[in-house]
């Protein structure tokens, strides 16, 4: 059985989620030890348990050690079971991370699967929904996958209670994807979302972006959300290029000035535009597994994060793929996946 040291590299929930995804995909059982060993609250937290639960149900797996605070888990996947599933995650944990756990294995099943996911949808430290919708999933579709998502209501930290659906249609094999350049930038858009908070927060955020974005005619949009369960404020900037769209997000917090929120999103977007690399830090993380599923592909990213290197290690434990990382220059790394 494959044994994973849960404390290596990034040492957090990512190792667990990637291992679950790869185990479901390959049918190989695994044991993970020292789960989140170095963290302040070590072991499995509630959000991790929800990911395990989703993987167990869809993967018809046998699992042991799936208890709160557990530092060791054994997961033996069965036959993937498509169909309709609902998972709700507490403590405003990220519902998108649950999708991230089960999606790679569902891409190659033969029947349609519908997922209803509840929890946080716009969380810091997790792929926010706009990023999934506008950046990541279009690339998956380019690889041949048929995945659509629809947001019913957003869920913000710390209340959560957001809801979205994901429909995965069977497509058989995935094609390789190469993203070594982004081509020309077509458009830059900024959206400020407010829920249960004064609209002028969004106005202030967008007016700062309008002044400071180095783009002649940015498309600016205020979204006043009335459906969410709790208050929230999110700013995201989309950079649409010839070959992909990247999304950069910043989150409002109590006591944090609206302008500062806008600055955070701006800083990331500007850094991305200045670098030539087409793939940003978070997208790089997300792309690795689908490329490994497809058995080939490459991309150039501006940041080689610990998340990414850890992910590569986990993939190597499950799949006989070759992943090479080449430093092309300052803030430019090429990652190639070959079978």
């Amino acid at each position: 059985m494959i044994t994973i040291d849960g404390s290596f590299g990034e040492g957090g929930g990512q190792i667990l989620r990637s291992s679950l995804a790869l185990s479901m995909m390959t049918g190989k059982p695994f044991k993970i030890e020292k789960i989140r060993a170095g963290r302040q609250k070590p072991g499995l937290l509630r959000q991790h348990l929800t990911a395990v639960k989703a993987a167990t149900e869809i993967g018809q797996a046998e699992v042991s050690g799936d208890t709160l605070g557990s530092k060791e888990l054994v997961f033996r996947p069965g036959k993937m079971q498509s169909g309709s599933y609902s998972f709700a995650i507490g403590t405003a944990g990220s519902a998108t991370l649950v999708l991230q756990t089960v999606l790679p294995a569902l891409l190659t099943t033969t029947e349609k699967t519908e997922l209803t996911l509840e929890g946080g949808t716009h969380n810091p430290a997790a792929p926010p929904f706009p990023f999934l919708e506008k950046s990541f999933l279009p690339l998956l579709r380019r690889m041949g996958a048929n995945v659509t998502v629809e947001l019913e209501r957003p869920g913000f930290f710390p209340v959560g209670g957001g809801k979205f659906t994901a429909v995965i249609e069977p497509t058989g094999m995935l094609n390789r994807l190469d993203l070594c350049e982004r081509g020309t930038i077509h458009e830059q858009r900024a959206t400020a979302l407010v829920a249960m908070l004064p609209t002028d927060i969004a106005d202030r955020e967008l007016s700062l972006i309008a002044r400071r974005l180095e783009w002649k005619n940015p498309v600016l949009k205020t979204e006043n959300v009335t459906t969410s369960r709790g208050p929230g404020n999110v700013v995201f900037i989309e950079v649409e290029s010839e070959h992909l769209t990247e999304v950069f997000t910043a989150f409002g917090e109590k006591g944090k000035r609206a302008e500062l929120v806008a600055e955070e999103a701006l800083k990331e977007a500007k850094q991305y535009v200045r670098s030539e690399a087409p793939v940003g830090e978070y997208l790089a993380d997300q792309l690795l597994l689908p490329l490994a599923v497809a058995g080939g592909g490459s991309f150039v990213t501006s940041v080689l994060s610990e998340h990414t290197t850890t992910n590569i290690e986990v993939i190597r434990r499950f799949l006989a793929v070759h992943i090479t990382v080449t430093e092309l220059g300052k803030r430019s790394w090429k990652i190639e996946v070959a079978s």
């Binding site: 609250k41 072991g43 937290l45 509630r46 959000q47 348990l49 799936d66 208890t67 709160l68 605070g69 709700a88 995650i89 507490g90 403590t91 405003a92 944990g93 509840e118 929890g119 930290f157 710390p158 209340v159 959560g160 209670g161 249960m196 908070l197 369960r229 709790g230 208050p231 917090e253 109590k254 006591g255």
Partner: protein
């Protein structure tokens, strides 16, 4: 998941949990926040609320459903006229607890004490501490600065852990009162003993005459005397005090003055008047343990006091009155003491109108288990911490306690000591099989060489006097031990195993039962005859 479900029971906080509109999310609300911890998963939340806060209860219920879809919230209506009235709140909660079906095999309970009035919090504490709530306390606290993104901290307090023993002991006294009230002593099972107690009860209520309690050390004479006193007092047979003394501790002048008192200057050192125990027991009950140890002079004085209700304190000119009831205890054969000239025949005649023989522990095997429970309760009362045996530990200890190896030479005193040691050494309030194994070693060691079986073989009960007289001392000692083992062993084979435990190791064919049968036959004895079958 194979873990027990986690159930929280707590009050809806009329102030702390209150909040309307989006602004409520900017406030720390204990009942909601406790469902927001990523390392605490509440499966069910029994939220106690008062009718006038129904609307708030609904808001909190929905908010918990949002932040914690895994949690099932049950709103439970409890109504107080006055939530600050201790008696009322306690009574309502007590009733609620009584009516609640706890499923401790599948669920674990946490009692949230952060919300509710102070009175409600105290009542929750008391009910948890007294094990009416079979759970632990849950205390939640806000973070230093609440900004809506941090649920704060939670602490689980297990009152059973010894570190909370000091808090618990403050309540131990109150707890004991209710225990005594609800429980009329140990639920003994031995039919002979139960019958004896029934007789004692009748006598205690109907008669003021002296009683004589006979039985080996540790059989519980002193405890029984105290209970007889309490019973007499409860039935208004007497109204004075319970005065107790072990006559073996009384010697010389002190004996006289302790019992009968003295006047100032009666002897050197008698600087003040002293009333004496007999006077102190006026209208009450005097328990003289080991009465056979009393000197002849004191016996004479005691007889007089019993007959005339008067006696003369040392150095006094006038007699003193005392109308007391007497219970005497002894482990000696007082008739023999009379024959030896050590005990007054007329005093014996006066005190043995009602004589009761208390059997030792090994003759009351059925009562070992209820006595263990009693000793555990007593330990809890004294130390304020509830101790339980794990099932396996209980099984192992009982097996030993009932076996022939357990001679219980110190009777209930040994049992009390054994339980006290195990309870004291038990970590986290649980006596484990390891604790039991250690205790069995300690007991076995303490009984080694006690000579108990030899001295109490009771050969006179199985042999005719002429047979006994015909035995050498050499044989008498050996046979006494064999008979003692046979009496406690369940079967002939068990007795054989115990008696030949060493030599059987070296033998190819072990037929201990046959060996024993032949040995007994030499003295004209049989297994069936010994066991009275």
């Amino acid at each position: 998941m194979n873990q027990k479900k986690l159930v929280v029971i707590g009050f809806l906080g009329a102030t702390l949990d209150a909040g309307k509109g989006p602004g409520r999310w900017e406030k720390w609300r204990p009942s909601v926040a406790l469902c927001q911890h990523d390392n605490l998963l509440v499966d069910r939340f029994e939220l106690l609320y008062q009718e006038k806060f129904t609307e708030l209860g609904q808001v909190v219920l929905e908010d918990i459903a949002t932040v914690s879809p895994e949690t099932q919230v049950e709103l439970k209506l409890v109504n107080f006229q006055d939530p600050w009235d201790f008696e009322e709140v306690y009574a309502v909660l007590f009733e609620w607890v009584r009516g609640y079906e706890f499923d401790v095999d599948h669920e674990e309970y946490l009692i949230h004490i952060t919300t509710g009035t102070h009175v409600a919090q105290i009542c929750l504490f008391l009910l948890t501490e007294s094990h009416h709530f079979p759970g632990k306390l849950l205390q939640t606290a806000p973070p230093k600065r609440y900004r809506g993104d941090d649920p704060g901290t939670f602490t689980i307090i297990d009152l059973d852990l010894s570190k909370y023993g000091r808090i618990a002991s403050r309540f131990a006294q109150e707890q004991q009162e209710s225990l005594t009230f609800l429980k009329s002593g140990i639920e003994t099972r031995d039919p002979a003993f139960n019958k004896l107690i029934e007789q004692i009860e009748k006598v205690a209520i109907a008669s003021k005459a002296p009683m004589l309690l006979m039985g080996p050390t540790g059989a519980g004479k002193s405890r029984l005397a105290k209970r007889i006193y309490e019973l007499k007092r409860a039935r208004h047979v007497l109204e004075g005090r319970f005065v107790e003394v072990n006559c073996a501790t009384l010697r010389g002048d002190t004996a006289m003055s302790t019992l009968f008192g003295h006047v100032k200057g009666a002897f050197t050192g008698a600087v003040n008047n002293r009333p004496g125990l007999l006077r102190q027991a006026n209208h009450g009950l005097l328990f003289l343990d080991e009465i056979g140890e009393l000197g002849l002079d004191e016996q004479a004085m005691l007889l007089r006091a019993l007959e005339d209700k008067t006696f003369l304190p040392m150095g006094a000119d006038h007699e003193t009155d005392s109308d007391f009831q007497l219970i005497a205890g002894t482990n000696r054969d007082l008739h023999r003491s009379v024959a030896e000239g050590k005990f007054r025949e007329d005093l014996l005649a006066r005190i043995n109108l009602w004589t009761f023989h208390l059997p030792g522990l090994k003759d009351r095997r059925a009562d070992i288990e209820p006595n263990i429970a009693y000793e555990l309760d007593e330990f809890a009362r004294r130390n304020g911490s509830q101790i339980v045996f794990t099932n396996e530990a209980r099984r192992q200890f009982l097996k030993f306690a009932l076996s022939a190896e357990a001679v219980w030479s110190g009777n209930f005193r040994d049992l009390n000591a054994a339980v006290t040691r195990m309870a004291t050494l038990a970590e986290g309030g649980r006596v484990t099989p390891e604790d039991v194994a250690d205790e069995i070693k300690r007991l076995t060691r303490s009984w080694q060489g006690s000579g108990e079986p030899v001295q109490r073989g009771g050969l006179e009960q199985v042999l005719e006097p002429e047979q006994l007289a015909a035995l050498d001392r050499f044989d008498r000692v050996q046979l006494a031990d064999v008979v003692a083992v046979c009496r406690t062993a369940a079967t002939l084979s068990e007795a054989g195993r115990l008696l030949f435990s060493t030599s059987r190791e070296r033998k190819k064919n072990t037929n201990d039962a046959d060996r024993l049968r032949k040995y007994l036959a030499r003295f004209g004895l049989s297994w069936n005859a010994l066991k009275g079958i």
